[in-house]
Amino acid sequence: MNAIMVPAVEVAALKDTTLLNMGIFALFVAVTMVIVFRASRNNKTAADYYAAGRSFTGSQNGTAIAGDYLSAASFLGITGAIAINGYDGFLYSIGFLVAWLVALLLVAELLRNTGKFTMADVLSFRLRQRPVRIAAALSTLAVCFFYLLAQMAGAGSLISLLLGISDWGGQALVIIVVGALMIMYVLIGGMKGTTWVQIIKAILLIAGAAVMTAMVLAIYGFNLSNLLGSAAEAANNPNVLNPGLQYGKTETSKLDFMSLGLALVLGTAALPHVLMRFYTVPTAKEARKSVVWAIWLIGLFYLFTLVLGYGAAALVGAETIKSAPGGVNSAAPLLAFHLGGPLLLGFISAVAFATILAVVAGLTITAAASFAHDIYANVISKGKADAGTEVKVARRTVVVIGVLAILGGIFANGQNVAFLVALAFAVAASANLPTIVYSLFWKKFTTQGAVWSMYGGLAAAILLITFSPVVSGAKTSMIPGANFAFFPLSNPGIVSIPLAFFLGWLGTVLDKRREDPAKQAEMEVRSLTGIGAEKAVNH
């Protein structure tokens, strides 16, 4: 197998399949639109709009969670990272997977039992409503914004690769189309429509990856060792099989990797759009089933990406991948073309688009729900707004967020997608996780502790990022010309997460006010028994 021979032809062939790619993608949009319209018929109440009437089963919701979680960064990013950096790319997927145990053991069921629509419902349950709700809503919006920006920026670079549109105006146009489609899904279908889009996408993505994995393994006689050997040979570097190729260069980069590892494993259970998915099932038991399904599907998928990444390294070659439009992100599509020609490439490309669409829709409805339910209904109108008005506000917010995402996507086009996603994880782990854990498990936790921890974590994460090499001071920075980077790590987690936990504790022990013990008792009893939890909506 001579991997160095394949290159130029394959890259050129990518553009010839543009029409096919667009055709398959149009088919996906048409099918999902029909489903979204059908699903929207029963959208009457706020519980319908935000939480799909709490009518999904655990397995459906688990599949949707996988669809939500396996973003373009997971699929294209990790496959590409393994193809180029070998073992270090694999480390990402382990962090992303193990993180689900935090959600399973500590968060999912208790959250489902105590909340209604948003993360803030749980955090403000036994603390003072206004300050905690505002803080939780702000950090929800911040996390959603970074994640959204990452996905929209990813859409831009994906387009350059898959549709052969390389000029800025053409890419902007496609970002607008993606954004407009997403607004329609969320506006019409609400959580129900969004969930179905995610379920369909997850099935297509996992099936596509499974087929490619089987094809790669078949080439190597289903012998993983042969595949690895061939990848090392093609890379002309046996170290692709060992850790350290990307992060082992200096002491700083090693520390940076620890920081990333911390943010990944603690971030997942604090991502607002993941948390909100637990409200779409009728009971805590179904929430548990959702996580179990999600863990199996996501774990399986990451095992596939290991094979796909090394497969791309062996069959396509790192040099070809790096020189293709879209760079590292093009590993999976190039491998698809190598294995199954234009048809498989078209399918995988369409799935990648669908991925962005589905993830963006999930983020948008989360941000809109947080604004309408937490800020508008509970803070601005102090709980006096009726559910109808609240949903109306949520719908308008969807349009505003959609427009912002389109503008942000056009502006951030070309930025490093993986960094933006890792940033969202770090912000979530710093701003949200300490307060979630304390309010569920620490009896004495107070409002001041929550507010200190959330604002402190949020501010620390964002400030450290601003003064890191990610923004200035290095060749790959957002502002390469300037240098105001005094924080050496590109991921703030190792500082901001412990700091937020510390602030939560400090704020609590210094707080002179005590919280209502009756509320604490109520939250604890409800969270463990599910008494009085929101039930499924019957139509």
Binding site: K44, T45, A46, A47, Y87, F90, L91, I94, G95, L97, V98, W100, L101, V102, L104, L105, L106, L224, S225, N226, L228, G229, A232, N239, L241, N242, P243, G244, Y247, G248, K254, F257, M258, G261, V265, K285, R288, V291, V292, I295, W296, G299, Y302, A387, G388, F441, P517, A518, A521, E522, E524, V525, R526, L528, T529, G530, I531, G532, V537, N538
Partner: protein, 126 residues
Amino acid sequence: MGNEAQPQDATASVDFQEVQQTERFRTLRKRHRSFVFPMAVIFLLWYFAYVLLADYAVAFMSTKVWGNINIGLILGLLQFVTTFGITAWYVSYSNRKLDPIAAEIRNEIEGHEFDKGGNVIRGGAK
């Protein structure tokens, strides 16, 4: 606007502090915490041990075991195995030890055994 207008639930009259003090609830809480806390500590330690090894013990991780498969890859795949294993264990533990007792408490509360005011029958001879 349908069911949103309904009173939030029928638990407004429940004295949760009393429920919190019952033997049964304390058993439930103890069973839950004595599983999830140690398990969380174990998998986090195991994960960080793995990350530290990959970060600082590259030579060890690169040791080939058979063919091109090295210790790093085996430990990485073991992370998958333990994640799946802990998931399955937790599900079976919940089904056996947590769900039945949670359901009992829920039924008692819904049967108005813990209403405020103290003028209610306290669950008979139990």
